[in-house]
Amino acid sequence: MLKFIIRRILYAIITLFLIITATFFLIAGAPGDPIAAKVGQMPEQAQEVIRAKYGLDKPVTQRYVLYMKNLLTTGDFGESIIYTGKSANDIIKDNAMISAKIGIIALALQITIGVFLGLVSALNREKIGDHIIRVCVVLAICVPSFVFAALLQYFVAFKWKLAPVFGWGELKHYALPVMAYAIGGIASYTKYMRSSTLSVIGEDYIVTAKSKGCKKSRIVRKHILRNSMIPIVTMIGPAVAGIFAGSFILEKMFSIPGLGAYYVKAVSDNDYTMIIGLTIFFAMLYVASLIVVDILYGVVDPRIRIAKSEK
């Protein structure tokens, strides 16, 4: 197991290094001048000063070495080009929590409601409840989150005035984004939980437990739920990483000052340092959560743990 974790972490470091390098050179080669929007009509000399400040007067390779050195020694992502005086680190520090809060609430809702609905649906297979849940799941999966968000904004907020259309700061502002965010996930967790439960129900150990006179509630809790949760655990990893990435659109739509919104803005503004800094941040989260899931997977499923340690 330890060998496996070390190998995974090693891979992750290589992946991260390649992502940083590739992003750096790709962005440097991208069309458009990063400081064009900032300098505007400034005189030539002023433009040169700003260019030198960001090191844009140096060749790409030299910039890369400098960037890596700063990153590895101090963890510095560099100063944002658009937000003068603020480094990408500051922006991540200030705004990551906003994205994280919405994402974690939504994720918790997704998993609990999804697992519950999936279990109910599978236990009542081919009954009326199952049919209703399945129809809702198919519909929810087919609707993109931004359509949901728009519908919520239009009906709940604009027509019925139950919640603010957009904005940030108070508790009431959470309601709509969290709902729009969670609904697609609820549907897919329900779907996976249903099929995973159905495959578990037929297993021999369930029949054994039943024939031994085990109470139904105990079978569900101790045997079905535990085993059918295994595939759900694998889905959580990418979902944790997706907390930031998945919020790109919703943060923009609801005017939430989270990292996703900053990333989208940085891309449209050509803000080099912000793009690279946020990319590294997202990539680190993503890679780390994949490792955590791999480890979790072994914890949840002893069969895998044994298979891996024997390898």
């Binding site: 962005i27 931004f146 239009y154 997202f282």
Partner: protein, 315 residues
């Protein structure tokens, strides 16, 4: 052996004319009336029985016919701006209404839909080709090549998909090609793993071993056994991944990284409509309706296919 030689004990040689066929002549039950059912014939037969899947198929045909024939029927140009007809509600002349520049939304939804669907299909094609080729090679060859391919998969699978897509479409400029490239770059990993797994599994099956023992060459085994048996699961993945790509395209267009105007797509139309949602909800509603209808159709077909292809569900 003993039971066979028993008959010939008295040195009687058995010839054909010593036997007579009785009781079976002219019996209709001996005739094969029905053509034997091929694998795909069987799948189609079971697929047809699934009403929901048929609804999906009809829905998809309707959507495709609409987006290709719609502009001919409406007789409008998707770029034509009518300054006297801005932001109209749906009416008899403009079926889906008009946008803020007086363009006919119905025609725009049709033309945009072509691009959305083409992007979805192209990405799926690239994903399928790379994925199944690499997966097949890895599964068939094994050893070092297999190991190498799986390591590459592990690496690509570690890349955060969305970030890569955003950066690539930023670097390569906004065009359909760069969209397809960026979206299919990381998508083939799942297909590769799946095809490899299938091939490894089928390779060990008794009927393949039997074919090898009977002297079938590699080509025949691939064409007759491996391909038909993996195709089913690949078909399901394909139908399920087209909507995924349409989703991603919509998403990218939505944050302004998709197709560039004057060309349009469902995502771009939805994005434009969203900004005017409060006053002209129809500008968002119709593109979204088409996206949802298409994705729903693919989902229903995919579900029906996977049921029809799964021998365990055969009654």
């Amino acid at each position: 052996m003993n039971s066979n030689t028993g008959i010939c004990e008295d040195n009687v040689i058995l010839t054909d004319d010593m036997f007579e066929r009785i009781g079976t002549k002219g019996l209709s039950s001996e005739q094969i009336n029905k053509k034997s059912l091929t694998y795909w014939g069987d799948v189609w037969r079971r697929f047809k029985k699934n009403k929901l899947a048929l609804v999906g198929l009809v829905l998809l045909v309707v959507v495709i016919l609409t987006i290709y024939l719609g502009p001919l029927v409406s007789g409008k140009n998707y770029q034509f701006m009518d300054s006297t007809a801005k932001d109209l509600k749906p009416n008899s002349e403009f079926w889906f209404g008009t946008d803020e520049m007086g363009r006919d939304i119905f025609t725009r939804v049709c033309v945009g839909g072509r691009i959305s669907i083409i992007i979805g299909l192209c990405c799926t094609l690239v994903m399928f080709t790379i994925g199944s080729l690499l997966g097949a090679i890895a599964g068939l060859k094994g050893g070092l090549i297999d190991n190498l391919i799986m390591r590459i998969c592990e690496f690509v699978g570690n890349l955060p998909y969305l970030i890569i897509v955003v950066i690539l479409s930023m670097v390569m400029g906004r065009s359909i090609f760069s969209l397809v490239f960026a979206m299919s770059l990381t998508s083939w990993v799942g297909t590769t793993r799946m095809v490899r797994g299938q091939i490894l599994q089928i390779k060990e099956q008794d009927y393949v071993q039997a074919a090898v023992a009977l002297g079938a060459n590699t080509k025949r085994i691939i064409m007759k056994h491996l391909l038909p048996n993996t195709l089913g699961i690949i078909m399901v993945t394909i139908t399920m991944s087209v909507p995924g790509f349409i989703f991603s395209e919509a998403f990218l267009s939505y944050i302004g990284l998709g197709v560039r105007p004057p060309e349009t797509s469902w995502g771009a139309l939805a994005s434009a409509g969203q900004q005017r949602l409060m006053f002209y909800p129809h500008e968002l509603f119709f593109p979204c309706l088409m996206i949802v209808a298409t994705i729903l159709a693919f989902h229903l077909i995919g579900d029906g296919l996977s049921d029809a292809l799964d021998p365990k569900l055969r009654k």
